[in-house]
Each structure stands twice: as C-alpha cells, then as structure tokens.
C-alpha cells in the first residue's frame, strides 16, 4: 500500500472531528515517518470493517442523525474503502496466516490440554504487582474496545447463508453474544458497563486515537476471517481457539477485578467465563466434528489454520500490551493520567523508531504521558504515542 493511497483515503475520511464518535472515521497521515506505515494501514483497515456495520450514537446529535450518517455511509467513501480493503488485507493480515497441518482430532485434544494447563495470565500477574494498576487496566480496556464494543459483529457475517447443521450451532453462539434477545445482556453492553465503572467513555470508537498497532492488528485479523465465505472453516477455527482461551483469560480477569477493583463491573468477564464453556463444546461437537466428517481432512486443516491464526494474533497483542505496560512503568519521565476527551486533542502519532529529537511530551494510550520523548524509544516497536499538544 502506498503512502499516497493512504493519504488520499485520509483526505476522504477527514473532517469529522465534530461528528459523534461512531461516525468519526479519521485516520492519521504517514507523512515523512515511514515507521507509521503499518499503524496507519491498520487504521485504514479498521475503517474498512467499521464501514460495513450499523453503528449509531447513543444520543441524537444536535443537528440530527441523518446528515452525519449520509456522510459516514456515503457510497463514494464506502466504495473507496471496499477497493482498498483487499490490498490492505494482503499486506497486513494474509502474511500472518499459516497453512494448517495435522489431524484435527489430535489438534483439538492437544489445544484443550494446552489451554487448560496454561500458566497464570501474564498481564493479570503484572497487574497484581503494579503500582498504578487502575491506569494499566484502563489502557487494557481501551485497547480491547475496538472489537468488544461491537462484539461478535464480525462473526455475524459468518452466519448468513445456508450450510447445514453447524450453521445452527454457530447461530446459537451468536445469540448468546447478542444477549439472547435481552439488550442488557449483550456482551458489548456488559463491556460498556465495565468501561464506565473505570470512568471511561463507553462510546463506540471513542478512543480511536489511542488504539495502537497491535490492538488494531488483532481486531483486523479477526474481522478479516469473516469477510470472505471461503474462510468458513477458518472461522470455526477462530471460534475453537477464542472460545476456549477466553474461558481462562476472562476467569483470570474476573478474579482480578473482584480482588483489586471490587467496585468495578465485572459481569462481562464472569459471563464469558461461564458461557464459553458451553461454546467450546458447541464448536467442537456441532461444527468441527460434523464439518470434518462431511468434508474430510482439508476442512480440518483449514480449521487448524484459523485456530492458529487466532492464537498467534491474541499472543502478539497480549505480549505487546504486557511489554508496553512494563515499559511505561519503568520509564523515568512517565506520569499516569488521561485527558477527558481523547478526540479533542489528538496530536500526531509517533513510534519508538520515529525521530524523537525535539519532540514534546508523548502520550501513550490511556496510560499517561512521557515528559521526555526520548523515553519512548525504549518502548516495544508497535507502540504508538501521540505528541501531546
């Protein structure tokens, strides 16, 4: 993807700083800083996926809702995003996909044993010993919000069509994700409540300036899986890994919140720790087994490929967040805290590889500010800072 193509897209998406967060589709400019290429590419890909979903502000804008909707969902913009999407995916996501290998039954058995025998969640262990754990947890919530504030919107695309009994199992999982018809039980609504209980804005897309490269990569890898029906078996692989791993990670977060933030709303994590036990069984018994019985080893290998992509994407995002959190905790000039409105003063983005000479203070997500920009050079490569105004 050329910088010009991204710059053209940035121009097309610009001018929405006064729009409700849901309709704010701005992306940054790469400009002269080549180290921003992957970050801005992922921002653009996020916008490609977001443009396909219905998102509405919680309250009617002062000037009415239709005008910003017409701008946000303008056919010319949608066409430009649709045109760029495959190119961005081929550069940013497809290289992460590895062919699936081995026998699916053995893979499932080994995966279950590996996840159930996994050591303590490393980020939660870090938080338990952290001095400013509330700020680190806010940043975790913000970095997870691109997907979770519209949770399961991607996987909904995998339900439409007609493909037999597994479709009903996947639909029942989707029903749970959307709160089995009860708005207050939607997983996105539960996540919103957790964010609010940490004093965060719960508006969809409200924190887009603070999303870093790895948070966007995880979001985009998941959404890529569901764009093309040819990925149906990989989608099952995604669910196989995600539902199983999420049981453990959400249980760890639920226990952490109960211990260190007893007033926080932990229902999102408690819900997943429970319902994903069912979902793992449903995916294996009602999708993996019948699909491989019907279509043989090649379907099994595709399922493995999807599960491995998911595992790798979660691992990369998790490792990055932990490294970033540690780097901020150790930075000599770091001070914790966040402005109330992240979209009001965005600031230009920088990476640890950017030329930081003469640069003012650098904000790092929802964590806080580095008074000395040089401290940012020691952060993990995919970290994104914003030059504070």
């Amino acid at each position: 993807m050329t910088c010009k193509a991204l710059a053209d897209l940035a121009g097309l998406l610009d001018g929405e700083d006064d729009a409700p967060a849901a309709f704010d589709a701005r992306i940054d400019q790469v400009g002269d800083d080549d180290s921003l290429g992957a970050f801005v590419g992922h921002q653009a890909l996020l916008r490609c996926y977001q443009a396909r979903y219905v998102v509405l502000p919680a309250q009617a804008p002062a000037g009415g809702v239709l005008a910003p909707m017409l701008r946000h969902y303008d056919e010319r913009r949608l066409a430009a995003l649709a045109d760029l999407r495959p190119r961005l995916e081929s550069e940013l996501i497809v290289p992460l996909v590895r062919p699936g290998e081995g026998d699916i039954a053995a893979y499932v058995e080994a995966m279950l044993a590996e996840i159930r025998g996994a050591p303590e969640n490393a980020f939660v262990a870090f938080l338990a010993d952290a001095d400013h754990r509330d700020h680190h947890y806010r940043n975790f919530l913000v970095q997870s919000s691109p997907d979770l504030l519209a949770e399961a919107s991607a996987s909904a695309l995998g339900i439409i069509g007609e493909y037999g009994e597994p479709q009903s199992a996947l639909f029942r999982i989707l029903i749970d994700e959307f709160g089995y018809g009860v708005p207050a039980k939607k997983h996105s609504v539960l996540y919103r409540a957790t964010m609010k209980s940490f004093g965060l804005d719960d508006a969809y897309n409200g924190y887009w300036p603070w999303f870093d490269t790895m948070a966007l990569e995880l979001h985009n890898a998941i959404h890529w899986l569901f764009q093309n029906p040819v990925n149906i078996f990989k989608q099952v692989g995604f669910l196989l890994h995600a539902e199983t791993a999420y049981q453990r990670s959400t249980l760890a977060h639920h226990r952490y919140l109960r211990r260190f933030h007893p007033d926080a709303d932990a229902r999102y994590f408690g819900e997943h720790a429970h319902i994903d036990l069912h979902h793992t069984r449903m995916v294996i018994d009602e999708a993996v087994v019948p699909f491989t019985a019907r279509f043989g080893d090649e379907a099994g290998r595709e399922i493995i490929a999807g599960a491995e992509l998911t595992k790798a994407a979660f691992a990369r995002a998790g490792d990055h967040l932990l490294a970033l959190s540690r780097a901020f905790a150790q930075a000599p000039s770091a001070s914790y805290g966040q402005p109330a409105e992240p979209r009001a003063h965005i600031g230009r983005p920088v990476t640890p590889a950017s030329d930081l000479r003469g640069v003012g203070p650098v904000r790092v997500g929802a964590l806080g500010v580095l008074a000395d920009a040089a401290d940012f050079a020691a952060f993990p490569p995919a970290a994104i800072g914003r030059v504070a105004p």
């Binding site: 029942r172 029903i175 749970d176 089995y180 018809g181 319902i275 069912h278 069984r281 449903m282």
Partner: protein, 90 residues
C-alpha cells in the same frame, strides 16, 4: 441417579400456548398432561424444541442443559391439566 424411564411426549409442533403472559408447552408424562414453562432456566431457551436424552431427560436446544422430567413436573410454575369433564350425552 437417573429416574425411572417414563412415557413422555413433548408438544413440539403444537401452536404457542400463552397463559398470563407466559409461554408454555404441552408435556405428556405417563398419560398425564402438563403445561410446562417454555423457558430454560439457564438462558431462556425454548424447551419445547428440546429432545430426550438416553437418561430420559429433556435437553434444551440452546446449550444442551438437561432437566429431569420429574423436575419439570415439580416446577411450581408447571400446570397440571385436569382430566376433561365427561361429555353429557344428549
């Protein structure tokens, strides 16, 4: 412990049965008729579309939670239907 196997019939295909704003389904057990709340206590799944497992339990179609027939009958919200009154002969 599994209960003694009973003669059970579920009104899968009957029209919706609503009473006081609640959905019910018709359940026949050993010749007795019951209106059972059509709502799985786990997540509200439609029990009327459930199946009987090898233990004779009703399995919810949503998450496959299984319920003994005796527990469904003993539910305070379940309504046992009285025998039809005799029809007067002309």
């Amino acid at each position: 412990m599994s209960e003694v196997r009973r003669e059970v019939w579920i009104g899968h295909d009957l029209p919706p049965i609503r009473r006081n704003g609640e959905d019910y389904f018709l359940l026949s057990v050993d010749g007795e008729l019951y209106l059972v709340p059509n709502r799985c206590p786990h997540r509200g799944g439609p029990l009327k579309f459930g199946t009987l497992n090898d233990q004779g339990e009703l399995v919810c179609p949503m998450h496959h939670n299984a319920f003994s027939i005796q527990s469904l009958i003993a539910n305070p919200a379940t309504i046992r239907l009285a025998a039809a009154p005799p029809i007067d002969k002309p």
